[in-house]
């Protein structure tokens, strides 16, 4: 059986759906037997899902204008 340590090491592959059938079976078998790892995977997944929701800042008109100024300048400087 996999060790708890290995469950932690493989947790990203598991939640990203990056595992082969056999590896996934062994992973899930451990989870079925181990309450700590079940909790770990649950919390780990919830934590990542939460972070994924952190928004990127919106771009401001000033930033866009600045891009245009930079491009105009670069044309002159060539």
């Amino acid at each position: 059986m996999l060790k708890c340590k290995q469950i932690v090491a493989q947790a990203s592959e598991y939640i990203d759906g990056d595992m082969g059938l056999l590896q996934k079976f062994r992973f899930q078998f451990h989870l079925a037997m181990c309450v700590h790892c079940r909790r770990f995977v649950k919390n780990f997944t919830a934590g990542i899902e939460m972070i994924k929701r952190l928004p990127y800042d919106d771009v401001s008109q000033e930033q866009i204008d600045c891009v245009h100024r930079r491009i105009a300048q670069s044309k002159h400087s060539r």
Partner: protein, 206 residues
């Protein structure tokens, strides 16, 4: 990449090839945020905006030569990453390279006994769904702070994958790293951030 982005790129391409201003504006609006998120991880907050501006000049020049071998977004982010790395070199800084010698459990390594079983198992969280977790803005700030203190490449891979939703294939292309490295870096970053969230859940402090 999502279907709607692919569609948008297909719509913009003809205009962009002729450097049509409207199409270019749409492009800037669409990808500025992703570029800034990436640039921050490599050069830091203070000059990230400048790097993105510089990247747009390069993108504008190179647009007629874009061959469509990757998505436009991947191509744009790759130019941004290269611009950021160039900037680092100019300031005699380099991206910190990491050794991958210890196991994949990262900062949680000391939580196991010699047999590899939990010694200090994870506790139950008060709130477990992502929606309720996010209510706490202090935790949001704490995560951001932690993220910006991770090694550069870990930050970059994490931002590209979990914050910006790029595929591993795109990430390897953008950062010039192997797919196995990208996976290790992502997992490391996630484990560190998880450790912090766990700490916050237990103590209410960052």
């Amino acid at each position: 990449m999502t279907e709607s982005l692919a569609q948008l790129e297909a719509e913009l391409m003809p205009g962009l090839a002729e450097r049509d201003e409207k199409s270019f504006n749409r492009l800037v609006q669409t990808y500025y945020g992703s570029m800034l998120g990436l640039a921050r991880t490599i050069v830091g907050e203070a000059i990230a905006d400048e790097v993105v501006q510089e990247a747009w000049v390069s993108i504008y020049r190179a647009l007629p030569k874009f061959e469509g071998r990757s998505s436009l977004k991947t191509w744009i982010l790759r130019i941004t990453a290269n611009e950021a790395k160039t900037r680092l070199r100019k300031e005699s800084r380099t991206i910190s390279l990491e050794q991958f010698d210890n196991g994949g459990e990262g900062i949680l390594a000391n939580r196991f006994n010699n047999q590899g079983a939990w010694q200090a198992p994870p506790g139950a969280w008060h709130e477990e769904s992502p929606e309720t977790l996010l209510i706490n803005t202090e935790m949001g700030d704490c995560i951001e702070h932690t993220l910006h203190h991770l090694p550069d490449l870990q930050q970059a891979v994490f931002a590209l994958k979990d914050l910006d939703g790029n595929s591993f294939e795109a990430i390897c292309n953008i950062l010039d790293i192997s797919s196995s490295n990208a996976r290790v870096l992502l997992h490391r970053a996630r484990v560190s951030l998880f450790g912090k969230i766990e700490h916050f859940q237990e103590t209410g402090e960052c």
